[in-house]
Amino acid sequence: MKRFIVSGIETLGAAVVDAVHAVVELWLVYVSTIAGIVRGLSRRRGGRGRPKGEILRQLYYIGNKSFIFIIVTLGFIGMVMTYQACLQLSRVTGDYSQVGQQFLRLIVSDFGPTLTGMMLATRVGAGIAAEIGSMKVTEQIDALRMSGVLPIDYLIVPRFIASIIMTLVLATIGAVVMYAAGGLTANYSWGVNPNLFFDLDLARGRHFALFAVKSIAYGAAIPVVAGFCGLRARGSSEGVGWATTAAVIGSSFAVIVLDFLISAAALFVTGGDL
């Protein structure tokens, strides 16, 4: 019994130590990425940075290839949410005058960027982790280091910059599609007047600021978490599989935690008037 307890404590202790190491390493990857951007800004030609045209390639990969995925997903969620909101209202008051305005505030301050972030965490996070993880287990990362290249500058910085830009762009497009899909659903299913639904009067600058802050935060978190998971890949293809799974879970988790923290901070800053 005593041995069982000691063994349990040792296992728990080892897990805690591993978790602390992982958090510290993740933080170091994030700091190194920011440092890599600064190095990139001040770098003379032929320095130790990213390959030419890599940011454009990543913008295409993250943006173009996620576009359909985002608009279809957010469009359907917009329809379902509006339909459910109208359905509940029909059972209580039958007054749909506030549906569009409240839906817009919800999309702009939360669902637009957060749902886009969640979608990108699965699609982009998995892709980044698989690519970097494969390079890790086939020693290509070591080969980069031997060629005088900093792997974080070369692999993570371009994805970081592209991800921030494209998360902002895709979240904007996704939010517009979500809002439009909701308006059409409200009109066709519940007879809500489009002029009433698409009333922007209640939208404030602070909602759009929150939209931008969340989009940028998610766009920054996904490539760092996914890149970190890829860089920790060990062994062979099995290790890449684990890294990819960890990246999807970690990126999604990061989006949810950041959503909570940023929303809480915004409530604090605005005194609860969001």
Partner: protein, 266 residues
Amino acid sequence: MTAYIEFKDVHKAFSGKPVLRGMSLAIGKGEVMFIIGTSGVGKSVTIKHLIGLLRIDAGEIWFDGERVDQIPERNLAPLRQRVGMVFQSSTLFDSMTLAENVALPLRKHHNMRHHAALDEARRRLAQVYMEDYADRYPAELSDGMRKRAAIARTLAGGPARRNPAGDLQTWPDVVLFDEPTTGLDPISARRVDRLIRELATTLGVTAVVVSHDPPSIFSIADRVAFLYQGVVHVVATPAELRASTDLIVQQFINGQSSGPMETPGF
């Protein structure tokens, strides 16, 4: 012999499992030293310690009179210029042509402009008889060709200096080869062997070769270090190794499945 590279009482464990248990080895300048031993004995681990791709748990590693095992990652670039490595799987970057692969260390280590680096890369590829394939992608080539291109890339990363013909050229002082002939057909393997020997003979490169390949060992090695149970069991010339009466050495070089050697997993 004055040691150019020296491993002193090196220990390394992975997840608590010891791999190197006090390994010591001295390698002379310009020497072609083979490190041999069974799979998982720590041969590749040993050479990766020299260039900071792995960190030792205990012991010391010296290169050209300087202790190198404690150099932080950010300061390792000069060492990695002087000591290059050819990896087991070539590790060419799939999205780049051979010339672009070889140009990468020229741009990063030597701050060369893109086109100048590509021109120089073609000359480095000619050195390994691969100039006709400079614009091809790694996936279009055989394993042997990729290995030779990887050698060219490693040479490109070294410091610039004049070769015996008086031309300005780059090459490292030491090249570490991780199983350079594994997976190659016999002809490609002998071509790679010839390249390694040429580098040592014509440019004075010190070559440290991890290998299981007896024809390579007995044709180009100056000396051979046999790694067994985490330490260097024997260091000998190929002739001495062949004549050794040590039963463990004999079992390994004759490839006998039964004998005194303890092989994990069998």
